[in-house]
Amino acid sequence: MLKSPASDSTSAPINRAETKAKIEASEKAFSLNAKDKYYALLFLGPSLLILGIFIFYPMFKTLYLSLFLTNTVGKPTVFVGLSNYINLLTSADYLNSLAVTMVYVLAVTALTIALGLLLASLASKKIAGIGFFRTLFSSTMGVSVSVAAIFWLFIFNPSTGFLSLISTWLHLPAIGWLTDPTWAMVAVIITTVWMNLGFTFLILFGAIQSVPTTLYEAASIEGASSRFQFFHITIPSISPTLFFVSIVTLIDGFKSFGLIDLMTKGGPTNATNMLVYRIYKDAFYSGNFAQASAEALILTVIIALFTLLQFKVLEKRVNY
């Protein structure tokens, strides 16, 4: 260590100065100097700009619009405070949309998970030719919404569709798959579940495959039936994945749009008028941007709640 000439006589104060310098240096390590700030700006700038233009501005604009009435050309004219929200949350029509969305989302999630799990556990069995079924089960992953919708529209066609042919053949009463409010919901759920199944299957299959086989071997030696093994080994082992897939399916369900537009346009009698579809129609069909903005914000809050739930639970369960 080099000592400055002055430190020879009075070493104590110098030491203190050194200590101070060290502290300052270490503080500096946590604060930014001019050059660092320049770099920080350089790196963050573009993303902040993009976020600002494409995320924050539209969000604030949406919030702003939702507090007004918008006129013919979509300009806010009359400030109405929260009355757009109040009107929505007290309108039977909107509450119906909320309810059908919930039914749809919950049914789609439950069925997707149940069927995905069933297929995944079937595909995990070591049977001859299982590779073919694995490919088959995951095949809907490559199908786009429009293709799926057209495919199922053919099947649901009341005169020439596959299902109507079957019911005629069996002398069963014809089902108005897309014209009866209850069945339309069922039809949309079936189509969505069918579409989701490929992805869900693949994820759950991967999760099941990664459960150590010795766990099953140990259990089968200990006398556990395969049913017991499924519920007491497979399910708990893949529960984080299961939860992840559920939330993704749930949020996807809330955002379901293309399928509704192509299959039912929200009908019949608003039976499939989901929140997102409603927003689209209110904004781009009816030009009611104020109400659509309010609906968009309500939907955002709902999805945010589910996302939050996901993070909370996943945080807790990440290591089981």
């Binding site: 030696i221 200990e222 556990a224 007491h232």
Partner: protein
């Protein structure tokens, strides 16, 4: 409960034969160790006894019942896996109780058994922990407790100590042994570690190259190996195996790599053979004049003994264990001799029976 294997064979397909003609009898209450190098099929054999892997031919009997086609749970045994196979999402208590719950035992019974099992492996205080919160040794104990709680009289263990450090391994070895004796378990224990086999087994089965090499007590295996493989597998440091030939002049004399000579009272049975000498059955002294037959390569001092590595004039390497501290310098010429405790093998490594009285060391 006893276990009998009769001519058990395992093929994966017509090309790959994994095990061939395995026959053995394991008696009730016996600590039976299956040992062999990795890839010899020993874990497979254990899994076939457990019923996790089907056998291709032969029969597996438990207490005179053929169990070939019985599922694992019907075989009334328990198994400890190398990776312990603990359920990561269950507490220690629930891990131990798992099999009991699966078999739908009465809750009181389950409680009593789990409590007893945990007590036996000293885990009572950790009952609420998850496996990830335990050390390696503690996890091992949970696996043991599970075996104990199951109350099965046959226990299979697949390299249970291989994931532990050396110190812990010695400790757990003793615990497993004590447990086996206390519960009177018929224990089949698979390991690649000859020390574990020697220290714990009542009987050892040595497996190599798809075949049973030898079955016997530890001392039989050590003192009377049936072939060079078994001789080499047991004992540290390894036995010295040296090539030897029958002397052309004297068919009672064996030249051991031209450095040592052995005279038999009977005729040497083969032209080419191998001689096995345990490292502590050899002696070394400094060469006097030109009588040296080897050169010191290196010495390792271990405290109570010293291992001397040397190269015979013929070029064969040997190692010799000497008591206490011995001072040889590297490259020092030495004279190596052996006492009369020799083993004879034919060119293929098969033991040749020559009685001790039959040879006179030169």
């Amino acid at each position: 409960m006893s276990i009998t294997l009769n001519n058990v064979r395992k093929d994966y397909d017509s090309e790959t034969e994994v095990l061939k003609d395995i026959s053995v009898e394991v008696e009730t209450g016996e600590f039976f160790v299956i040992v062999g190098p990795s890839g010899c099929g020993k874990s497979n054999l254990l899994r076939m006894i457990a019923g996790l892997t089907p056998i291709t031919a032969g029969e597996v009997k438990i207490d005179d019942t053929v169990v070939n086609d019985l599922p694992p749970k019907a075989r009334k045994l328990t198994m400890v896996f190398q990776n312990y196979a603990l359920f990561p999402f269950l507490s220690v208590w629930d891990n131990v109780a798992f099999g009991l719950k699966a078999r739908k035992l009465a809750p009181d019974d389950i409680n009593a058994r789990v409590k007893e099992a945990l007590k036996m492996v000293n885990l009572t205080t950790l009952a609420k922990r998850k496996p990830r919160e335990l050390s390696g040794g503690q996890r091992q104990r949970v696996a043991l407790a599970r075996a104990v709680a199951s109350d099965a009289k046959i226990c299979l263990m697949d390299e249970p100590l291989s994931n532990l450090d050396a110190q812990l391994r010695i400790k757990m070895r003793q615990e497993i042994y004590a447990l086996q004796r206390k519960l009177g378990l018929t224990l089949i224990y698979v390991t690649h570690d000859q020390v574990e086999a020697m220290t714990m087994a009542d009987h050892i089965m040595v497996l190599n190259d798809r075949h049973v090499q030898q079955i016997g007590t530890p001392s039989e295996i050590y003192q009377n190996p049936k072939n060079a493989f078994v001789a080499k597998f047991f004992g540290t440091p390894q036995i010295n195996i040296l090539p030897a030939t029958r002397s052309a002049d004297n068919n009672h004399m064996i030249n051991v790599s031209s450095d040592l000579q052995i005279i038999l009272s009977e005729e040497v049975p083969a032209e080419k053979l191998q001689i096995g000498i345990r490292p502590d059955d050899m002696q070394i002294r400094l060469a006097e004049g030109v009588d040296g037959n080897a050169v010191v390569k290196n010495t390792e001092f271990l405290g109570d003994e010293t291992i001397v590595y040397a190269t015979l004039n013929s070029g064969n390497d040997i190692h010799v264990v000497m008591t206490g501290k011995v001072d040889f310098r590297n490259y020092e010429p030495i004279k190596v001799t052996a006492n009369s405790n020799l083993m004879f093998f034919d060119a293929n490594g098969k033991r040749i029976d020559i009685s001790k009285e039959a040879y006179v060391h030169a």
